[in-house]
Protein backbone atom coordinates (compact mmCIF):
# COMPACT_ATOMS: atom_id res chain seq x y z
CA UNK A 1 0.00 0.00 0.00
CA UNK A 2 1.54 3.33 -0.93
CA UNK A 3 2.03 6.17 1.51
CA UNK A 4 -0.80 8.65 1.16
CA UNK A 5 0.70 12.01 0.31
CA UNK A 6 0.00 15.18 -1.64
CA UNK A 7 2.93 14.48 -3.96
CA UNK A 8 4.80 11.53 -5.43
CA UNK A 9 6.24 9.91 -2.32
CA UNK A 10 9.35 8.02 -3.34
CA UNK A 11 12.81 8.19 -1.79
CA UNK A 12 15.89 5.99 -2.09
CA UNK A 13 16.44 3.61 0.84
CA UNK A 14 18.82 5.23 3.30
CA UNK A 15 20.99 2.15 3.86
CA UNK A 16 20.93 0.62 0.37
CA UNK A 17 23.85 -1.56 -0.67
CA UNK A 18 25.53 1.07 -2.87
CA UNK A 19 25.98 3.42 0.11
CA UNK A 20 28.40 0.92 1.62
CA UNK A 21 30.58 0.54 -1.49
CA UNK A 22 32.74 -2.58 -1.29
CA UNK A 23 31.48 -3.36 2.18
CA UNK A 24 28.29 -5.00 3.31
CA UNK A 25 26.40 -5.14 6.58
CA UNK A 26 26.18 -8.63 8.02
CA UNK A 27 24.22 -9.63 11.10
CA UNK A 28 25.22 -12.50 13.37
CA UNK A 29 23.05 -14.43 15.83
CA UNK A 30 23.88 -17.16 18.35
CA UNK A 31 20.87 -19.47 18.33
CA UNK A 32 19.44 -20.48 21.73
CA UNK A 33 21.69 -18.05 23.62
CA UNK A 34 19.81 -14.96 24.75
CA UNK A 35 22.80 -13.86 26.85
CA UNK A 36 23.51 -11.70 23.79
CA UNK A 37 20.44 -9.47 23.86
CA UNK A 38 20.03 -9.32 20.09
CA UNK A 39 21.80 -10.28 16.88
CA UNK A 40 24.90 -8.18 16.22
CA UNK A 41 25.65 -5.95 13.22
CA UNK A 42 28.99 -5.73 11.36
CA UNK A 43 30.30 -3.67 8.47
CA UNK A 44 32.76 -5.88 6.62
CA UNK A 45 34.37 -6.07 3.15
CA UNK A 46 32.57 -8.35 0.69
CA UNK A 47 35.95 -9.93 0.01
CA UNK A 48 36.66 -10.71 3.61
CA UNK A 49 37.52 -14.35 4.10
CA UNK A 50 35.03 -16.35 6.10
CA UNK A 51 37.66 -17.29 8.70
CA UNK A 52 38.50 -13.61 9.26
CA UNK A 53 34.86 -12.73 9.68
CA UNK A 54 34.39 -15.50 12.23
CA UNK A 55 37.58 -14.47 14.04
CA UNK A 56 36.30 -10.92 14.26
CA UNK A 57 32.84 -11.64 15.64
CA UNK A 58 34.04 -14.35 18.02
CA UNK A 59 37.10 -12.38 19.09
CA UNK A 60 35.33 -9.13 19.78
CA UNK A 61 31.97 -10.25 21.06
CA UNK A 62 30.89 -13.86 21.35
CA UNK A 63 34.04 -15.01 23.12
CA UNK A 64 32.93 -12.91 26.10
CA UNK A 65 30.42 -15.60 27.04
CA UNK A 66 32.12 -17.88 29.62
CA UNK A 67 30.49 -20.87 27.88
CA UNK A 68 32.02 -19.97 24.53
CA UNK A 69 35.24 -21.92 25.03
CA UNK A 70 33.31 -25.10 25.77
CA UNK A 71 32.11 -25.20 22.17
CA UNK A 72 34.30 -27.30 19.87
CA UNK A 73 32.56 -26.71 16.57
CA UNK A 74 29.67 -24.70 15.17
CA UNK A 75 26.78 -25.30 12.88
CA UNK A 76 26.00 -22.37 10.55
CA UNK A 77 22.95 -20.98 8.82
CA UNK A 78 22.58 -18.25 6.22
CA UNK A 79 19.17 -16.79 7.05
CA UNK A 80 17.41 -20.05 7.90
CA UNK A 81 19.31 -22.23 5.41
CA UNK A 82 21.97 -24.54 6.76
CA UNK A 83 25.32 -23.87 5.10
CA UNK A 84 28.91 -25.11 5.30
CA UNK A 85 31.17 -22.15 4.69
CA UNK A 86 34.78 -22.95 3.89
CA UNK A 87 37.30 -20.81 5.70
CA UNK A 88 39.18 -19.49 2.68
CA UNK A 89 36.15 -18.35 0.70
CA UNK A 90 35.05 -14.73 0.79
CA UNK A 91 31.70 -13.62 2.09
CA UNK A 92 30.61 -12.77 -1.45
CA UNK A 93 31.68 -16.17 -2.76
CA UNK A 94 29.65 -17.80 -0.02
CA UNK A 95 26.58 -15.94 -1.20
CA UNK A 96 26.34 -13.42 1.63
CA UNK A 97 24.80 -10.14 0.57
CA UNK A 98 24.10 -6.75 2.12
CA UNK A 99 22.07 -7.27 5.31
CA UNK A 100 22.42 -11.04 5.33
CA UNK A 101 22.10 -12.70 8.68
CA UNK A 102 24.26 -15.66 9.68
CA UNK A 103 23.17 -17.77 12.61
CA UNK A 104 25.15 -20.31 14.54
CA UNK A 105 24.89 -22.82 17.33
CA UNK A 106 27.12 -25.48 18.85
CA UNK A 107 27.31 -28.44 16.45
Amino acid sequence: MPVKALYNYKFPPRDRAEVFGDDILVYAYWIDNPFFCSASAWRVPKNMKWKDFVAQIFGQLYGLDPDFKKVKSWKWYHFDQEFNPSDEKTLAELGLRHKSIVKFKPA
Partner: protein, 512 residues
Protein backbone atom coordinates in the same frame (compact mmCIF):
# COMPACT_ATOMS: atom_id res chain seq x y z
CA UNK B 1 -33.06 43.01 34.16
CA UNK B 2 -30.03 41.10 35.39
CA UNK B 3 -28.23 39.06 32.75
CA UNK B 4 -28.70 35.34 33.20
CA UNK B 5 -25.51 33.38 33.79
CA UNK B 6 -24.64 31.24 30.78
CA UNK B 7 -24.53 27.49 31.25
CA UNK B 8 -21.36 25.57 30.51
CA UNK B 9 -22.83 24.26 27.26
CA UNK B 10 -23.92 27.71 26.08
CA UNK B 11 -20.56 29.25 26.88
CA UNK B 12 -18.76 26.47 25.07
CA UNK B 13 -20.85 26.93 21.92
CA UNK B 14 -20.42 30.68 21.88
CA UNK B 15 -16.68 30.54 22.31
CA UNK B 16 -15.94 27.77 19.82
CA UNK B 17 -18.46 27.37 17.02
CA UNK B 18 -19.67 30.92 17.61
CA UNK B 19 -16.26 32.28 16.70
CA UNK B 20 -16.01 30.38 13.42
CA UNK B 21 -17.04 31.88 10.09
CA UNK B 22 -17.64 30.87 6.51
CA UNK B 23 -14.90 32.13 4.17
CA UNK B 24 -16.09 34.30 1.27
CA UNK B 25 -13.11 35.12 -0.94
CA UNK B 26 -10.88 32.02 -0.39
CA UNK B 27 -12.07 28.48 -0.95
CA UNK B 28 -12.21 26.07 1.99
CA UNK B 29 -9.93 23.73 0.10
CA UNK B 30 -7.22 26.37 -0.02
CA UNK B 31 -7.58 27.10 3.67
CA UNK B 32 -7.45 23.43 4.66
CA UNK B 33 -5.19 21.75 2.10
CA UNK B 34 -4.62 18.64 4.25
CA UNK B 35 -8.27 17.90 4.99
CA UNK B 36 -9.02 15.38 2.25
CA UNK B 37 -5.98 13.50 1.05
CA UNK B 38 -6.07 10.89 3.80
CA UNK B 39 -9.45 9.74 2.50
CA UNK B 40 -11.47 10.76 5.56
CA UNK B 41 -14.98 11.95 4.76
CA UNK B 42 -16.81 14.45 6.97
CA UNK B 43 -20.43 15.45 6.40
CA UNK B 44 -21.04 17.75 9.33
CA UNK B 45 -18.35 19.18 11.60
CA UNK B 46 -21.01 20.59 13.93
CA UNK B 47 -21.78 17.08 15.17
CA UNK B 48 -18.56 17.26 17.15
CA UNK B 49 -18.88 17.95 20.89
CA UNK B 50 -16.19 18.42 23.50
CA UNK B 51 -17.42 16.79 26.70
CA UNK B 52 -14.99 18.94 28.70
CA UNK B 53 -16.67 22.03 27.26
CA UNK B 54 -13.42 23.87 27.69
CA UNK B 55 -13.31 27.53 26.77
CA UNK B 56 -10.27 29.81 26.64
CA UNK B 57 -11.31 31.58 29.82
CA UNK B 58 -11.62 28.37 31.82
CA UNK B 59 -8.49 26.99 30.21
CA UNK B 60 -6.25 29.81 31.44
CA UNK B 61 -7.79 29.74 34.87
CA UNK B 62 -7.27 26.05 35.55
CA UNK B 63 -3.93 25.70 33.80
CA UNK B 64 -2.51 28.61 35.78
CA UNK B 65 -3.67 26.94 38.96
CA UNK B 66 -2.05 23.64 37.95
CA UNK B 67 1.23 25.46 37.31
CA UNK B 68 1.09 27.32 40.62
CA UNK B 69 0.66 24.04 42.44
CA UNK B 70 3.50 22.40 40.56
CA UNK B 71 6.01 25.19 41.10
CA UNK B 72 5.17 25.44 44.81
CA UNK B 73 6.02 21.76 45.18
CA UNK B 74 9.16 22.01 43.07
CA UNK B 75 10.41 24.99 45.10
CA UNK B 76 9.75 23.17 48.35
CA UNK B 77 11.66 20.15 47.09
CA UNK B 78 14.62 22.29 46.00
CA UNK B 79 14.71 24.28 49.24
CA UNK B 80 14.61 21.14 51.33
CA UNK B 81 17.39 19.40 49.35
CA UNK B 82 14.71 16.89 48.43
CA UNK B 83 17.00 14.96 46.11
CA UNK B 84 18.82 13.64 49.17
CA UNK B 85 15.68 11.98 50.47
CA UNK B 86 15.04 9.92 47.33
CA UNK B 87 14.92 6.17 47.96
CA UNK B 88 18.26 5.74 46.17
CA UNK B 89 20.15 7.55 43.38
CA UNK B 90 19.61 4.51 41.14
CA UNK B 91 16.01 5.71 40.90
CA UNK B 92 17.06 8.77 38.90
CA UNK B 93 18.12 6.66 35.95
CA UNK B 94 14.47 6.17 35.08
CA UNK B 95 14.04 9.95 35.20
CA UNK B 96 17.03 10.42 32.90
CA UNK B 97 15.30 8.16 30.38
CA UNK B 98 12.16 10.20 30.87
CA UNK B 99 13.85 13.57 30.34
CA UNK B 100 15.87 12.39 27.35
CA UNK B 101 13.17 10.30 25.75
CA UNK B 102 9.77 11.68 26.70
CA UNK B 103 10.22 15.41 27.29
CA UNK B 104 11.35 16.08 23.71
CA UNK B 105 8.21 14.20 22.60
CA UNK B 106 6.10 16.63 24.60
CA UNK B 107 7.62 19.37 22.50
CA UNK B 108 6.94 17.45 19.30
CA UNK B 109 3.36 16.94 20.48
CA UNK B 110 3.11 20.71 20.94
CA UNK B 111 4.13 21.15 17.31
CA UNK B 112 1.91 18.35 16.07
CA UNK B 113 -1.18 19.74 17.74
CA UNK B 114 -0.42 23.24 16.49
CA UNK B 115 -0.56 21.69 13.01
CA UNK B 116 -3.86 19.95 13.76
CA UNK B 117 -5.28 23.12 15.32
CA UNK B 118 -4.49 24.93 12.10
CA UNK B 119 -5.63 22.31 9.63
CA UNK B 120 -8.78 20.56 10.84
CA UNK B 121 -11.78 22.18 9.20
CA UNK B 122 -14.03 21.91 12.30
CA UNK B 123 -13.94 24.63 14.97
CA UNK B 124 -14.63 22.24 17.88
CA UNK B 125 -11.68 19.87 17.41
CA UNK B 126 -9.54 22.79 16.28
CA UNK B 127 -10.12 24.49 19.63
CA UNK B 128 -9.39 21.30 21.55
CA UNK B 129 -6.18 20.75 19.54
CA UNK B 130 -5.15 24.34 20.21
CA UNK B 131 -5.50 23.79 23.96
CA UNK B 132 -3.58 20.58 23.68
CA UNK B 133 -0.77 22.28 21.79
CA UNK B 134 -0.39 24.70 24.70
CA UNK B 135 -0.66 21.87 27.22
CA UNK B 136 2.21 20.05 25.57
CA UNK B 137 4.41 23.12 25.72
CA UNK B 138 3.57 23.40 29.41
CA UNK B 139 4.51 19.75 29.91
CA UNK B 140 7.85 20.35 28.24
CA UNK B 141 8.49 23.32 30.51
CA UNK B 142 7.56 21.74 33.82
CA UNK B 143 9.56 18.62 33.00
CA UNK B 144 12.63 20.68 32.07
CA UNK B 145 12.29 22.68 35.27
CA UNK B 146 12.00 19.52 37.37
CA UNK B 147 14.97 17.96 35.55
CA UNK B 148 17.15 21.07 35.85
CA UNK B 149 17.23 20.68 39.62
CA UNK B 150 18.55 17.11 39.29
CA UNK B 151 21.03 18.31 36.67
CA UNK B 152 22.86 20.23 39.39
CA UNK B 153 23.75 17.00 41.16
CA UNK B 154 23.51 14.00 38.82
CA UNK B 155 24.70 12.65 35.47
CA UNK B 156 22.51 12.29 32.43
CA UNK B 157 20.40 15.47 32.57
CA UNK B 158 22.65 17.95 30.78
CA UNK B 159 21.94 17.54 27.09
CA UNK B 160 18.46 16.17 26.47
CA UNK B 161 17.67 17.75 23.10
CA UNK B 162 20.99 16.96 21.46
CA UNK B 163 20.88 13.44 22.84
CA UNK B 164 17.32 12.97 21.65
CA UNK B 165 18.49 13.72 18.11
CA UNK B 166 21.55 11.50 18.23
CA UNK B 167 21.76 8.75 20.83
CA UNK B 168 20.91 5.23 19.69
CA UNK B 169 18.16 4.31 22.18
CA UNK B 170 16.54 7.74 21.85
CA UNK B 171 15.96 7.14 18.15
CA UNK B 172 13.18 4.85 19.39
CA UNK B 173 10.95 7.67 20.75
CA UNK B 174 12.23 10.17 18.18
CA UNK B 175 11.37 8.02 15.16
CA UNK B 176 8.02 7.16 16.68
CA UNK B 177 6.96 10.77 16.88
CA UNK B 178 8.53 11.71 13.55
CA UNK B 179 6.38 8.98 12.04
CA UNK B 180 3.28 10.59 13.58
CA UNK B 181 3.99 14.23 12.68
CA UNK B 182 4.75 13.34 9.09
CA UNK B 183 1.28 11.83 8.70
CA UNK B 184 -1.82 13.86 7.87
CA UNK B 185 -3.87 15.58 10.60
CA UNK B 186 -6.40 12.76 10.99
CA UNK B 187 -3.81 10.03 11.27
CA UNK B 188 -1.83 12.16 13.69
CA UNK B 189 -4.82 12.59 16.01
CA UNK B 190 -5.65 8.89 15.83
CA UNK B 191 -2.01 8.03 16.52
CA UNK B 192 -1.32 10.40 19.36
CA UNK B 193 -4.63 11.36 20.99
CA UNK B 194 -6.30 8.03 20.59
CA UNK B 195 -3.80 5.18 20.40
CA UNK B 196 -1.08 6.75 22.49
CA UNK B 197 -2.90 8.97 24.96
CA UNK B 198 -6.09 7.04 25.47
CA UNK B 199 -4.48 3.66 25.51
CA UNK B 200 -0.83 3.87 26.47
CA UNK B 201 0.23 7.02 28.33
CA UNK B 202 -1.68 5.84 31.37
CA UNK B 203 1.10 3.30 31.90
CA UNK B 204 3.70 6.03 31.94
CA UNK B 205 1.85 8.74 33.77
CA UNK B 206 -0.11 6.80 36.35
CA UNK B 207 1.64 3.70 37.78
CA UNK B 208 5.12 5.00 36.92
CA UNK B 209 4.43 8.40 38.51
CA UNK B 210 2.97 6.66 41.50
CA UNK B 211 6.34 4.91 41.65
CA UNK B 212 8.06 8.32 41.59
CA UNK B 213 5.99 9.32 44.61
CA UNK B 214 6.88 6.09 46.34
CA UNK B 215 10.59 6.76 45.78
CA UNK B 216 10.38 10.23 47.26
CA UNK B 217 10.35 12.24 44.03
CA UNK B 218 7.41 14.62 44.55
CA UNK B 219 8.27 16.99 41.68
CA UNK B 220 8.16 14.15 39.16
CA UNK B 221 4.96 12.79 40.63
CA UNK B 222 3.47 16.27 40.46
CA UNK B 223 4.50 17.04 36.89
CA UNK B 224 3.36 13.56 35.96
CA UNK B 225 -0.08 13.91 37.47
CA UNK B 226 -0.34 17.54 36.36
CA UNK B 227 0.47 16.50 32.79
CA UNK B 228 -1.83 13.50 32.99
CA UNK B 229 -4.73 15.67 34.17
CA UNK B 230 -4.39 17.49 30.84
CA UNK B 231 -4.08 14.06 29.32
CA UNK B 232 -7.62 13.29 30.47
CA UNK B 233 -8.75 16.05 28.20
CA UNK B 234 -6.49 14.72 25.44
CA UNK B 235 -7.89 11.22 25.84
CA UNK B 236 -11.33 12.70 25.43
CA UNK B 237 -10.24 14.52 22.29
CA UNK B 238 -8.85 11.27 20.90
CA UNK B 239 -11.93 9.26 21.72
CA UNK B 240 -14.34 11.90 20.47
CA UNK B 241 -12.48 12.44 17.22
CA UNK B 242 -12.35 8.74 16.50
CA UNK B 243 -16.03 8.17 17.31
CA UNK B 244 -16.94 11.25 15.33
CA UNK B 245 -15.01 10.07 12.26
CA UNK B 246 -16.56 6.61 12.54
CA UNK B 247 -20.04 8.08 12.68
CA UNK B 248 -19.50 10.54 9.85
CA UNK B 249 -18.97 8.02 7.05
CA UNK B 250 -18.68 4.26 6.75
CA UNK B 251 -15.70 4.66 4.40
CA UNK B 252 -13.76 6.03 7.35
CA UNK B 253 -14.02 2.77 9.30
CA UNK B 254 -11.32 0.72 7.49
CA UNK B 255 -8.97 3.71 7.44
CA UNK B 256 -9.32 4.24 11.19
CA UNK B 257 -8.97 0.51 11.84
CA UNK B 258 -5.67 0.43 9.94
CA UNK B 259 -4.39 3.43 11.89
CA UNK B 260 -5.40 1.81 15.18
CA UNK B 261 -3.62 -1.40 14.16
CA UNK B 262 -0.47 0.50 13.23
CA UNK B 263 -0.39 2.91 16.13
CA UNK B 264 -1.21 0.36 18.79
CA UNK B 265 1.92 -1.58 17.92
CA UNK B 266 4.11 1.53 17.42
CA UNK B 267 3.05 2.91 20.81
CA UNK B 268 3.24 -0.42 22.58
CA UNK B 269 6.82 -1.00 21.41
CA UNK B 270 7.74 2.51 22.58
CA UNK B 271 6.10 1.94 25.96
CA UNK B 272 8.24 -1.17 26.49
CA UNK B 273 10.91 1.25 27.78
CA UNK B 274 8.51 2.15 30.58
CA UNK B 275 8.27 -1.53 31.44
CA UNK B 276 12.03 -1.65 32.05
CA UNK B 277 11.87 1.57 34.08
CA UNK B 278 9.07 0.24 36.29
CA UNK B 279 10.37 -3.26 36.92
CA UNK B 280 14.10 -2.56 37.18
CA UNK B 281 14.86 1.10 37.79
CA UNK B 282 12.53 1.92 40.67
CA UNK B 283 14.21 0.84 43.91
CA UNK B 284 10.78 0.82 45.53
CA UNK B 285 8.12 -0.67 43.31
CA UNK B 286 4.38 -0.06 43.21
CA UNK B 287 3.16 -2.41 40.50
CA UNK B 288 4.85 -4.58 37.95
CA UNK B 289 4.65 -3.89 34.22
CA UNK B 290 2.47 -6.97 33.91
CA UNK B 291 0.03 -5.81 36.58
CA UNK B 292 -0.17 -2.34 35.04
CA UNK B 293 -0.71 -3.85 31.62
CA UNK B 294 -3.55 -5.99 32.92
CA UNK B 295 -5.24 -3.10 34.67
CA UNK B 296 -4.72 -0.29 32.19
CA UNK B 297 -4.69 -2.23 28.91
CA UNK B 298 -6.53 -5.50 29.31
CA UNK B 299 -9.27 -4.21 31.61
CA UNK B 300 -9.61 -0.57 30.66
CA UNK B 301 -8.78 -0.74 26.96
CA UNK B 302 -9.77 -4.19 25.79
CA UNK B 303 -12.63 -4.86 28.13
CA UNK B 304 -13.72 -1.22 28.29
CA UNK B 305 -12.88 0.84 25.25
CA UNK B 306 -12.86 -1.75 22.48
CA UNK B 307 -16.14 -3.28 23.53
CA UNK B 308 -17.52 0.22 23.26
CA UNK B 309 -16.16 0.59 19.74
CA UNK B 310 -17.57 -2.73 18.50
CA UNK B 311 -20.80 -1.14 17.35
CA UNK B 312 -18.85 1.02 14.91
CA UNK B 313 -17.29 -2.05 13.33
CA UNK B 314 -13.94 -1.53 15.05
CA UNK B 315 -12.11 -4.55 16.49
CA UNK B 316 -9.12 -4.59 18.88
CA UNK B 317 -5.72 -3.85 17.29
CA UNK B 318 -4.28 -6.56 15.04
CA UNK B 319 -1.27 -7.44 17.18
CA UNK B 320 -2.85 -7.02 20.60
CA UNK B 321 -2.76 -10.76 21.26
CA UNK B 322 1.01 -10.72 20.81
CA UNK B 323 1.31 -7.87 23.35
CA UNK B 324 -0.62 -9.98 25.84
CA UNK B 325 1.62 -12.98 25.17
CA UNK B 326 4.69 -10.80 25.69
CA UNK B 327 3.64 -9.32 29.02
CA UNK B 328 5.79 -11.66 31.09
CA UNK B 329 8.87 -11.07 28.91
CA UNK B 330 8.80 -7.49 27.72
CA UNK B 331 10.28 -5.52 30.61
CA UNK B 332 13.01 -8.13 31.14
CA UNK B 333 14.00 -8.11 27.49
CA UNK B 334 14.21 -4.34 27.38
CA UNK B 335 16.18 -3.95 30.61
CA UNK B 336 18.58 -6.64 29.44
CA UNK B 337 19.15 -4.61 26.26
CA UNK B 338 19.68 -1.38 28.23
CA UNK B 339 21.99 -3.20 30.65
CA UNK B 340 24.05 -4.72 27.82
CA UNK B 341 24.72 -1.39 26.11
CA UNK B 342 25.18 0.87 29.14
CA UNK B 343 28.73 1.67 28.01
CA UNK B 344 27.15 3.82 25.29
CA UNK B 345 24.17 5.26 27.16
CA UNK B 346 23.45 8.40 29.17
CA UNK B 347 22.13 6.44 32.14
CA UNK B 348 23.52 3.82 34.45
CA UNK B 349 22.34 0.26 34.89
CA UNK B 350 23.16 -2.44 37.41
CA UNK B 351 22.64 -6.06 38.27
CA UNK B 352 19.43 -6.25 40.32
CA UNK B 353 20.01 -6.92 44.01
CA UNK B 354 19.02 -10.31 45.36
CA UNK B 355 15.81 -9.01 46.95
CA UNK B 356 14.94 -7.28 43.68
CA UNK B 357 15.42 -10.53 41.80
CA UNK B 358 13.10 -12.17 44.28
CA UNK B 359 10.48 -9.53 43.63
CA UNK B 360 10.85 -10.08 39.88
CA UNK B 361 10.53 -13.84 40.35
CA UNK B 362 7.41 -13.37 42.45
CA UNK B 363 5.79 -11.02 39.93
CA UNK B 364 6.87 -13.12 36.94
CA UNK B 365 6.73 -16.68 38.23
CA UNK B 366 6.76 -18.23 34.75
CA UNK B 367 9.67 -16.32 33.28
CA UNK B 368 12.12 -14.48 35.52
CA UNK B 369 13.98 -17.35 37.18
CA UNK B 370 13.66 -19.51 34.09
CA UNK B 371 14.92 -17.12 31.41
CA UNK B 372 16.50 -14.06 32.97
CA UNK B 373 18.11 -14.58 36.36
CA UNK B 374 20.98 -16.68 34.96
CA UNK B 375 21.97 -13.87 32.61
CA UNK B 376 22.84 -11.66 35.57
CA UNK B 377 24.77 -14.47 37.23
CA UNK B 378 26.72 -14.91 34.02
CA UNK B 379 27.14 -11.15 33.65
CA UNK B 380 29.17 -11.18 36.87
CA UNK B 381 31.67 -13.58 35.28
CA UNK B 382 31.74 -12.28 31.71
CA UNK B 383 33.95 -9.28 32.32
CA UNK B 384 35.19 -6.81 29.75
CA UNK B 385 38.03 -4.27 29.85
CA UNK B 386 35.46 -1.50 30.48
CA UNK B 387 34.71 0.06 33.90
CA UNK B 388 32.27 -1.93 36.01
CA UNK B 389 32.70 -5.44 37.23
CA UNK B 390 30.35 -7.04 34.76
CA UNK B 391 29.41 -7.78 31.19
CA UNK B 392 28.81 -5.27 28.39
CA UNK B 393 27.88 -6.23 24.84
CA UNK B 394 31.05 -5.08 23.06
CA UNK B 395 29.59 -4.58 19.64
CA UNK B 396 26.62 -3.07 17.87
CA UNK B 397 23.18 -4.67 17.75
CA UNK B 398 20.91 -5.40 14.83
CA UNK B 399 18.00 -2.95 14.98
CA UNK B 400 14.38 -3.30 13.93
CA UNK B 401 13.73 -1.21 10.83
CA UNK B 402 10.46 0.14 12.27
CA UNK B 403 10.67 0.53 16.06
CA UNK B 404 14.51 0.85 15.97
CA UNK B 405 14.89 -1.19 19.17
CA UNK B 406 17.66 -3.82 19.16
CA UNK B 407 16.10 -7.08 17.98
CA UNK B 408 15.82 -8.59 21.44
CA UNK B 409 12.16 -9.43 21.95
CA UNK B 410 11.70 -12.97 23.18
CA UNK B 411 9.48 -15.29 21.21
CA UNK B 412 6.99 -16.54 23.85
CA UNK B 413 6.65 -19.76 21.84
CA UNK B 414 10.44 -20.32 21.88
CA UNK B 415 11.67 -18.42 24.94
CA UNK B 416 15.39 -18.98 24.36
CA UNK B 417 15.23 -17.06 21.10
CA UNK B 418 14.23 -13.64 19.86
CA UNK B 419 11.67 -13.05 17.16
CA UNK B 420 13.34 -12.25 13.86
CA UNK B 421 11.48 -11.36 10.70
CA UNK B 422 12.65 -9.92 7.42
CA UNK B 423 11.31 -8.94 4.01
CA UNK B 424 12.88 -8.12 0.70
CA UNK B 425 11.56 -4.94 -0.87
CA UNK B 426 12.84 -3.60 -4.20
CA UNK B 427 16.07 -5.57 -3.95
CA UNK B 428 16.97 -4.61 -0.37
CA UNK B 429 16.49 -6.59 2.84
CA UNK B 430 14.80 -5.21 5.97
CA UNK B 431 14.71 -6.83 9.40
CA UNK B 432 12.01 -6.61 12.09
CA UNK B 433 11.62 -7.45 15.77
CA UNK B 434 8.06 -8.70 15.39
CA UNK B 435 5.17 -9.43 13.09
CA UNK B 436 3.73 -6.08 14.19
CA UNK B 437 6.71 -4.05 12.98
CA UNK B 438 6.93 -6.13 9.78
CA UNK B 439 3.25 -5.51 9.07
CA UNK B 440 3.69 -1.77 9.60
CA UNK B 441 6.61 -1.73 7.16
CA UNK B 442 4.62 -3.61 4.54
CA UNK B 443 1.79 -1.09 4.73
CA UNK B 444 4.06 1.84 3.88
CA UNK B 445 7.51 0.62 2.84
CA UNK B 446 8.42 3.96 1.21
CA UNK B 447 8.29 5.58 4.60
CA UNK B 448 10.42 3.14 6.56
CA UNK B 449 13.13 2.54 3.95
CA UNK B 450 14.32 6.01 4.96
CA UNK B 451 14.78 5.14 8.64
CA UNK B 452 17.81 6.73 10.35
CA UNK B 453 19.08 3.65 12.15
CA UNK B 454 21.75 4.61 14.69
CA UNK B 455 23.83 1.47 14.17
CA UNK B 456 23.97 1.88 10.41
CA UNK B 457 24.71 5.58 10.78
CA UNK B 458 27.70 4.76 13.00
CA UNK B 459 28.92 2.32 10.35
CA UNK B 460 28.51 5.00 7.68
CA UNK B 461 30.75 7.31 9.72
CA UNK B 462 28.01 9.84 10.47
CA UNK B 463 28.25 9.77 14.27
CA UNK B 464 31.80 10.75 15.19
CA UNK B 465 32.91 13.96 16.90
CA UNK B 466 36.21 13.56 15.04
CA UNK B 467 37.40 10.75 12.76
CA UNK B 468 38.50 7.85 15.03
CA UNK B 469 42.26 7.37 15.28
CA UNK B 470 41.91 3.59 15.40
CA UNK B 471 39.47 0.84 16.34
CA UNK B 472 39.71 1.69 20.05
CA UNK B 473 38.76 5.28 19.34
CA UNK B 474 35.46 4.46 17.60
CA UNK B 475 33.23 4.27 20.67
CA UNK B 476 34.86 7.31 22.38
CA UNK B 477 34.24 9.43 19.28
CA UNK B 478 30.61 8.32 19.12
CA UNK B 479 30.15 9.09 22.83
CA UNK B 480 31.67 12.51 22.30
CA UNK B 481 29.25 13.16 19.45
CA UNK B 482 26.42 12.03 21.77
CA UNK B 483 27.76 14.43 24.47
CA UNK B 484 27.96 11.52 26.90
CA UNK B 485 30.56 12.39 29.53
CA UNK B 486 30.44 10.54 32.85
CA UNK B 487 26.87 9.42 32.21
CA UNK B 488 27.52 5.85 31.10
CA UNK B 489 28.66 2.53 32.64
CA UNK B 490 27.50 0.59 35.65
CA UNK B 491 25.87 2.53 38.49
CA UNK B 492 28.35 1.20 41.02
CA UNK B 493 31.30 2.81 39.23
CA UNK B 494 29.47 6.10 38.60
CA UNK B 495 29.91 9.63 39.91
CA UNK B 496 26.27 9.43 40.99
CA UNK B 497 27.02 6.55 43.31
CA UNK B 498 30.23 8.11 44.64
CA UNK B 499 28.44 11.40 45.39
CA UNK B 500 25.42 9.72 46.86
CA UNK B 501 27.59 7.82 49.33
CA UNK B 502 29.50 10.98 50.18
CA UNK B 503 26.32 12.98 50.78
CA UNK B 504 24.91 10.24 52.99
CA UNK B 505 28.02 9.20 54.82
CA UNK B 506 26.59 10.24 58.16
CA UNK B 507 23.25 8.63 57.52
CA UNK B 508 22.30 5.04 58.05
CA UNK B 509 20.05 5.03 54.98
CA UNK B 510 22.70 4.75 52.29
CA UNK B 511 22.19 1.88 49.90
CA UNK B 512 25.43 0.05 49.21
Amino acid sequence: MAKKKLTLAQKYHIYTRGLDWEPTYVSKKDIYPYAEYEGIKIKDWNKWEDPFRMTVEAYWKYQAEKDRRFYAILDGFIQNQGHLTLSDARYLNSIKLFIQGVTPLEYMAHRGFAFVARHLPGPGPRTAAFFQSMDELRHTQIEVHAGSNFNKYYDGFHSMTLMHDRVWYLSVPKSYFDDAVTAGPFEYVTAISFSFEYALTNLLFVPFMSGAAYNGDTPTMTFGFSAQSDESRHMTLGLQVVKFLLEQHEDNVPIIQRWIDKWWWRGYRLTSLVGAMMDYMLPKRVMSWKESFELYIEDQILEGLFRDLERYGIRPPLHMEQSIKEKEFLSHDVYWILFSFTFAAAFHSWIPKEEEMEWLAEKYPRTFNQYYRWRYEKAKQAKTPLPGDRFYYIGLPQLCQVCQIPMGFTDPDDPNNFVQRYVEYEGEIYHFCSDGCKWIFEQEPEKYVQAWLPVHEIYKGNCFAEPPKGPDDVVPQVLKWYNIQTDNFDYFVSEDYKNWKEWHKDMATVVV
